[in-house]
């Protein structure tokens, strides 16, 4: 019999992996990894703000991420700085601000280690509900807009000429990434979230001939990584989040040994 805490951890982790896989495929295709990283770093600030304002940390993280995504879109349109420079500035500024705020709140119970590297083993029924609720919503949205999203990802200009609302789709995708980042914080922590998005997708790439197989494959590989990581964590008493990411990295390394299909 698995202990309750492990079961919750497993179900939470798998839930996030199932969403992070397909969305991660878009992150890879659209080169949004650094964007995801920036949102992830900012989510620490979100938690700190949540504690200060006494709102639920997850809600605070989601709102912070969405606002940051909006600010980024605005600044990107200005085009006075290269995209990666802009992301780098925002990413590290928000991380630093988050750490400073967490320091100021040292008298409250902020578990900095847990925020940075995840605290999956403390997941409870509420977390499960939130993860599957929001995760399900994200998957449904992806499914609903799948064709136009793939078209706009292939070539935004071409899609735009033929009437696809590419700007709205881009904003939608950013919002979805913000939501999944907020969910994944619980699993692997602020510093490792992007790994959960891109490593399973990149692994799946080697075996895929269509966008759909790559997305589904990424969800499955992420699930395997979560299970393997938790086993590792339970048997060797290693931190859960990093163990999961390490398992994903091992999957990726193993995939390099197999022949590529395309």
């Amino acid at each position: 019999m698995i202990p309750d805490f492990l079961l919750y951890a497993l179900l939470s982790g798998v839930g996030v992996a199932l969403v992070a896989g397909p969305l991660g495929a878009f992150v890879v295709w659209r080169r949004m990894a650094y964007f995801g990283d920036t949102l992830a770093h900012a989510s620490l600030l979100g938690v700190a703000l949540g504690v200060m304002l006494e709102v639920h940390p997850l809600l605070a993280v989601i709102v912070t991420s969405l606002i940051l995504a909006g600010v980024l879109v605005g600044l990107q349109n200005e085009k006075w700085l290269a995209n990666d420079t802009l992301l780098g500035i925002l990413s590290h500024s928000t991380l630093a601000l988050g750490l400073v705020c967490a320091g100021l709140l040292a008298h409250t119970r902020i578990d900095l280690w847990g925020l940075l590297f995840g605290d999956l083993l403390t997941a409870n029924a509420t977390d499960l509900l939130i993860i599957y609720g929001i995760g399900g919503l994200v998957l449904l949205t992806l499914w609903r807009f799948w064709q136009p999203l793939i078209f706009a990802t292939l070539d935004e200009t071409l899609a735009q000429v033929e009437g696809v609302p590419v700007v709205r789709l881009r904003l939608l995708l950013m919002a979805l990434v913000a939501l999944v980042v907020a969910l994944a914080m619980k699993v692997v922590g602020v510093l490792l979230i992007t790994a959960l998005l891109i490593i399973p997708a990149a692994t799946s790439r080697r075996f895929s001939r269509s966008p759909e197989t790559m997305a589904v494959g990424a969800a499955l590989i992420g699930t395997v990584a979560v299970i393997a990581g938790l086993v590792l964590s339970y048997t060797l008493d290693t931190p859960a989040g990093p163990s999961i990411v390490l398992s994903a990295s091992l999957c990726f390394a193993l995939s390099l040994l197999l022949p590529r299909r395309d």
């Binding site: 295709w29 659209r30 793939i150 292939l154 200009t157």
Partner: protein, 262 residues
């Protein structure tokens, strides 16, 4: 052209500025149904900008662009900008434009890409990709076909073939064609109207008259001479009816030309 048929697309005194630089000034032209209009001009002449204005990807800073109501556009971009990690077969790519398998089959056979259907898009050669892009553009049965340098990365034989396809498709679909081209000698034989562009319209008209126009000869003097040599040595279907040969002798006369390039 027939003055009674209303144009598919008309640019009226269109100007466009980017970052304070005039890219296009006072450009007026139109594309009538079944007409092939070709934009030629040196690099930086604003050809692609003008196409983007015509199809609504850019908004003119002055003047206006009138498109026929509910005009069905088929657009063939210069290239696709998709990430290598997005696995897409040719067939899947075509299905984004049409769900009608018969139509896809018909035009794939027509343009000789049926055997490429199961190949990955990123593994195609330059010529194959251009034919796939052209096929995709006609799947929607466009009333106006817009082609931005359709022969990029295609060898000379492939270029001639591609222009033949374009003119045949025009006859079959009864659509107008607006294209940007560098291939003077090939395109001149297959077009109804040539527009010689260099930030403004230098001259426009039937290929025979444009080929004798002093501004055209000033712009393409060297190349026009090459065409003369080319058609002289190879008496084949893509020549300029011999008109270029005498014209090339006049190309030193452009000192009389009133035109100033600043």
């Amino acid at each position: 052209m027939n003055a009674t048929s209303s144009p598919l697309i008309a640019c009226e005194n269109v100007s466009w500025r980017r970052n304070g630089v005039d890219v296009l000034q006072g450009v007026s032209f139109h594309v009538a149904p079944r007409e092939i209009v070709t934009l030629i001009g040196p690099n930086g002449a604003g050809k692609t900008s003008l196409v983007n204005l015509a199809i609504g990807l850019l908004e003119p800073t002055q003047g206006r662009v009138v498109r026929q109501e509910r005009l069905r556009l088929g657009y063939m971009p210069q290239h696709l900008r998709f990430d290598n990690n997005l696995p897409v077969t040719v067939e899947r790519f075509l299905r984004l434009a049409s769900s009608d398998k018969k139509v896809i089959h018909h035009y794939s056979e027509r343009l000789g890409i049926a055997k490429l259907h199961n190949q990955q898009l990123q593994n195609l050669s330059g010529g194959e990709l251009q034919r796939v892009l052209l096929t995709r553009a006609v799947l929607r049965k466009p009333e106006l076909l817009v082609l931005d340098e359709p022969t990029q990365g295609v060898d000379v034989i492939g270029q001639a073939e591609l222009y033949r396809h374009i003119s045949e498709l025009r006859d079959e679909l009864g659509c107008g064609v607006l294209m940007v081209s560098h291939d003077l000698h090939l395109v001149m034989a297959k077009t109804d109207t040539v527009i010689c562009l260099n930030r403004h319209i230098c001259c426009q008209g039937a290929p025979e008259s444009v080929a004798r126009h002093p501004e055209y000869l000033q712009m393409f003097g060297k190349q026009a001479e090459d065409i003369a040599i080319y058609t002289h040595h190879h008496d084949h279907e893509h020549n300029l009816h011999g008109d270029v040969v005498p014209a090339a002798h006049h190309h030193h006369d452009h000192s009389n030309c009133q035109h100033h390039h600043s």
